[in-house]
């Protein structure tokens, strides 16, 4: 295991895992990583590296810059694990994996799944386009459209202030009370807990709807504002 002030490197089954200390400043991390690897370039050449960024919010541009630097050293950045939705979105946009399998047994459970479902939520602004994926242990609120080919996965509820045309999975870790609602509910596929539903082919004029589990069926009903 190698240590520096702001990151930690250890070997995992599938290459190296770099864990960035929380609170570190990205520019400093980037420079330190580049130096660390280039000083030992011959040793690290051909390595596969995964990054655990914790809560640090990064743009695709910043990730891409690091990937390019590592690429020049013959090192492949293949995965980025993060708790910041911005970073996860950026990593996915760059085609990077966002989950790193850990070797030690007992530690392999996905961290987020193990968390109790709280009332935490994230807000996603703007359209989610094909190929984008948002995953969160709490609720997910999207202020914009979810296009066909995009995926939203939430431990709790999913609320789309816009058209939902992609895939939505609410209660993804088993919460059967979870709901999905959207101004226009026309998903490619809808999942609540372990139930998977494909919406009916014919649909009336779009209107705000809320989908929930009734027994083992996903049922969508028009949004009724009266109590």
């Amino acid at each position: 295991m190698a240590r520096s002030g702001i990151f930690e490197i250890k070997g995992i089954g599938d290459g190296l895992l770099v864990t960035v200390k929380s609170g570190a400043e990205w520019q400093a991390v980037h420079t330190a990583l580049r130096n660390h690897f280039s000083e030992r370039a011959a040793f690290f050449k051909g390595a596969r590296v995964a990054l655990d960024l914790g809560t640090m919010p990064l743009s695709a541009k910043e990730l891409e810059a690091l990937r390019a630097d590592l690429e020049r050293l013959g090192i492949e950045l293949w995965a980025v694990e993060a708790e910041s939705p911005k970073t996860v979105k950026a990593a996915r946009a760059l085609g990077l994996a966002t989950r790193v399998p850990r070797p030690e047994p007992g530690k392999t459970k996905p961290r987020r799944a193990a968390q109790p479902l709280g009332e935490e939520a994230i807000l996603v602004r703007g359209a989610l386009r094909s190929g984008m994926r948002v995953e969160f242990a709490g609720h997910v609120v999207v202020l914009g459209n979810v296009h066909a080919g995009a995926e939203v996965v939430a431990g709790g509820n999913i609320i789309v202030w816009g058209r939902l045309r992609g895939l939505a999975h609410a209660g993804a870790w088993g919460n059967r009370e979870a709901v999905v609602c959207a101004l226009e509910l026309s998903p490619t596929q809808l999942r609540i807990a372990d139930v998977i539903a494909a919406p009916p082919a014919e649909q009336a004029a779009p209107q705000p709807e809320i989908a929930s589990l009734k027994g083992n069926q996903v049922v969508a009903e028009p949004w009724d504002s009266s109590p």
């Binding site: 979105k89 085609g95 359209a127 094909s130 066909a148």
Partner: protein
Amino acid sequence: MGKVLTITSGKGGVGKTTTTANIGAALAGLGKKVVCIDADIGLRNLDLVLGLENRIVYDLVDVVEGRCRLRQAMIRDKRLPELYLIPAAQTRDKTAVSPSDMVEICDELRREFDWVLIDSPAGIERGFRNAIAPADEVVVVTNPEVSSVRDADRIIGLIEAEEKGPARLIINRLDPRMVRSGDMLSVEDVVELLAIELLGVIPEDESIVINTNRGMPVVLNPKSKAGQAFHNIARRLLGEKVPFMPIEEESGGLRKLLGRWLRGG
């Protein structure tokens, strides 16, 4: 300082190369100094569409690897003296060029040309990243057809993530007859699905095939409707307000088709 415009699509075969060649020729015809770069290393085509294949001596990879100067790799078009091509290498692959190489080359070209057009390869991997890295503006080409619209949506997301957006849209190969019968997505449908600004619509036109096979961009054919549409796109790129050509559309069967797509995946 010139502008770098990247033409991309996600899906292959939707008309990126034809679009690049024609916008390039149209801009050159409007008196601009234009260079087109074929970034599709290993599958070069732009030279064929422009009818310049037999004049290639050096290519983009030769420039990157220092075997020639940038100037030496530029081929000047015979018909339009302000139009140049930098061809791709046919015997190498996308990894022969990096995004930073492309930025460097375009920074040099920008000083001399009004427009630098980059013909992106299909896909979302290295070749796409090379093509997008130096872009000031991005145009996404799609056909009015569900799979190419889906791929265009993915590409638009990647362009946003690279902070190169907002991209503008060209709908290529629109067949008004099929739109009318409800068998093809209309312009409105595609714009609604992708939610980006429309730059132009190219009607289906057999003169494209004929001209492409002859290595002559269709904008050079004054009778072609598609040529006119490309010409209008070039003018819009220069900031002119050009009304869209009338294309008959709207129908009843359309909702059905759209619905089928939304649910069918």
